[in-house]
């Protein structure tokens, strides 16, 4: 399993997670993915990367610093994107049910990302 594959596998073990991906931030293209059947990976990657880029630009414009994490809560699920320094210009994107324990997702992601560094 590749290093990214292990990251995704650990994140996906959190109950409620429907899949995760490593996505190129600028292009919104998938670098590696591990998704449940039926999750539209390409669309999630492109749309979430776009949200992250917009949020990053907005917060830099507001002098709040560089965005590290974006989370969108919807009626029927949750989208999560993190840009840890160890991933460079890549994003970790997670798709989950609305009831997922986000703290657990962040913890698992942080553990593996630290190991990547």
């Amino acid at each position: 399993m590749s290093a990214y594959g292990e990251l995704l596998d650990r994140v996906n073990r959190v109950p409620g997670v429907r899949g995760s991906m490593v996505v190129a931030l600028e292009d919104g293209l998938i670098v590696e993915e591990d998704l449940m059947v039926g999750v539209p990976g390409a669309a999630v990657a492109a749309l979430v990367a776009s949200i992250f880029r917009r949020a990053r630009k907005s917060l830099q414009g507001a002098d709040f610093g560089a965005a590290q994490l974006v989370q969108v809560e919807a009626d029927e699920g949750l989208l999560f994107a993190a840009a840890p320094p160890q991933l460079g210009d890549l994003l970790l994107v997670v798709v989950a049910e609305g009831w997922v324990n986000v703290g657990l997702v962040r913890l698992e992601a942080a553990r593996v990302v630290e190991a990547l560094g």
Binding site: V37, F64, V72, D75, V95, E97
Partner: protein
């Protein structure tokens, strides 16, 4: 894409001059596309006589047999293609789909899972695998690969034009996440605007909170302040934050996740939470990272409640 007449002539000339020319394959594909499967079959069969190890030709012949209803012959051709090249994903895909149709679920699943490695976005493979998993749920065969429940977010189907038009014509309608708290005792100043300003100012003075603003759908500040440095930067911040809600709305609409309920953005120094209001605007609350996240979110919830009360009181949508 269809071949030009010049290309067809060129291929025909090449194959006529040399029956071993590899041009037999694109020419056969052209005839298949043109509704002449008989000509395509003859070309491929003749081509394979000279190129028996041409994987693509075996795959194409399988496709032609399949389209002609000769399923056993189609299976054999794809089987040959895979024997020649186990990584030939189109043949893997085709044979997997055929096995799924035949009800040979385990074999179909093996082939289709492997074919998914060649194109993980293939909607037909995904649909077939989903169908296999569903058919297994009634007890036939082994459990699915990870045993996860059926997903709620599905691959967006090819919607007819009317529904796409309806979806894009409908205004963004983010649903409020929770019912607002009961109305607290009104501050001393009169008027709805003064009331919400006072409430937001009080929230902005809470420990670790940078500020709270209510924005209208155009991104203008209705009430509140956001002090960064020594001045109120609420209007600027509103202008740059507003497009984020449009992005979130587009994403959840496209992914069929309902309406957006909140956006949380974290930087090294700050946390910003955006939440929609019933009039299509939003509430933005920013807090510093030196206080617990849960506290910032709690304050954000109170700011949203205040905004909703204000909108109701001032005649806006509830």
């Amino acid at each position: 894409m269809s071949a030009t007449p010049q290309q067809v002539r060129q291929w025909s000339d090449e194959v006529a001059a040399d029956p071993g020319s590899p041009a037999f394959r694109p020419l056969a594909e052209h005839y298949r596309d043109a509704g002449r499967p008989d000509a395509a079959l003859r070309l491929v069969i003749r081509g394979l006589e000279r190129h028996p190890n041409d994987v693509e030709a075996h795959h194409l012949l399988g496709v032609l047999y399949r389209e002609g209803g000769e399923l056993v012959k189609a299976f054999d051709e794809w089987d040959i293609a895979l024997a020649l090249d186990a990584e030939h994903f189109p043949s893997r895909r085709a044979i997997g789909l055929l096995l799924a149709e035949r009800g040979e679920l385990e074999a179909a699943e093996r082939h289709l899972e492997k074919a998914l490695q060649g194109d993980s976005f293939d909607p037909e493979i995904r649909a077939a695998l989903e169908d296999i998993h569903v058919r297994r749920k009634d007890g036939r065969g082994r459990a699915g690969a990870r045993g996860r429940p059926a997903p709620a977010v599905e691959e967006p189907p090819a919607a007819p034009p009317e529904s796409l038009a309806a979806a894009s014509a409908a205004p963004p309608a983010p649903a409020p996440a929770e019912v607002p708290a009961p109305v607290p005792a009104a501050p001393a100043a009169g008027g709805e605007f003064d009331a919400v300003e006072a409430e937001l100012a009080a929230l902005g003075n809470e420990r670790g909170i940078i500020g709270a603003v209510v924005l209208d759908p155009q991104g203008f500040v209705i009430a509140g302040r956001m002090h960064v440095g020594d001045r109120d930067r609420g209007p600027e911040i509103a202008a740059v934050l507003s497009p984020s809600s449009a992005e979130a709305e587009r994403a959840v609409r496209h992914l069929k996740m309902g309406g957006w309920k909140s956006i949380l953005v974290e930087t090294a120094d700050a946390v910003v939470r955006l939440a929609p209001t019933p009039d299509g605007g939003m509430v933005a609350v920013a807090g510093r990272r030196d206080v617990p996240m849960g506290w910032v979110l709690r304050v954000a919830g109170r700011a949203r409640d205040a905004a909703i009360r204000f909108l109701r009181a001032s005649g806006g949508p509830a």
